[in-house]
Subunit: 138 residues, 2 copies
DNA sequence: ATCGCTGCAAAAATTTTGCAGGTAA
DNA sequence: TTACCTGCAAAATTTTTGCAGCGAT
């Protein structure tokens, strides 16, 4: 946690109650959360929804969180660990929305090929898997 | 085009002016469009925004369009060709939003492995690439 | 003649912004 | 002390819904 706050401090940004609380929620969550879910996970009245929005914009710009999209339109956020580039993917159940974190990633060579073929630079990708989880198959 | 309208008719859904116009816009577009872009592409007053929303929900449910997400939060829609499963990906410029359609896809075996490892069935994926296009590199 | 579809308008939901007071450093 | 932050409230956006009339089949 101190690692996270350190990154904020280095930018001369402040560690406030709401920010610490949000970071703690994100750290403890096994899956990405929407702004509303973050607010609801916070002790009642701990923080305003507007502050959650502002915090997520900030953290995203600092590359401390990653924004991802599942099947509904909502943006979800996941903490990016220090040192980690935050690049991993999810397998989401289309029925119950259970989320599993996935190890596999899109092959690097193939991505390079795509970049080269199209003359693009700094190419990255977003990848999410969807399916029916064991429980929902019954 | 008649192929598309046939699919609607089979469901005893009607081919109306707005629907035909929306389908034509989508058919002619080389890239996925947001609801607002669809409305703007329509001759003035041809159709109401609410109707665009309703149409896209309908077409999505019928699997005639695919919903995808680029870097902004907005949903974009792309027509799925008859016979085609509509599965292809995009390379989007993070500066000017230019979109290139990509041939490469996530390796099937790897996807199967992911499904098996986690006990999921009917696994598919969404994949989008982001980078800086040739023009924006200068 | 049906029943679905549409426009319009209103409602609901989501996200952003302004501002005055509070607070970390 | 000095910026930076926050809550609150209002505004701006985006998306959904109700309803009466129109229109495809």
């Amino acid at each position: 946690m101190s690692v996270l706050t350190g990154r904020l401090r280095r930018q001369s940004l402040k560690i406030t109650g709401p920010r610490a609380a949000i970071l703690e929620i994100l750290r403890a969550s096994p899956r990405p959360l929407t702004n509303k879910q973050i607010l609801e996970a916070l002790p009642t009245g701990q923080c305003d929804l507007a502050t959650v929005y502002r915090s997520m914009h900030l953290l995203e710009k600092m590359q401390m969180v990653k924004r991802c999209h599942f099947h509904d339109g909502a943006s979800r956020f996941q903490l990016i660990a220090e040192g980690d580039d935050g690049h991993h993917h999810h397998l989401v159940c289309t029925r119950c929305s259970e989320v599993v974190e996935i190890e596999q990633c899109f092959p690097v060579e193939l991505e390079k090929q795509i970049a080269t073929e199209n003359g693009y630079r700094s190419v990255t990708h977003k990848l999410e898997f969807f399916g029916v989880c064991p429980t929902c198959q019954e």
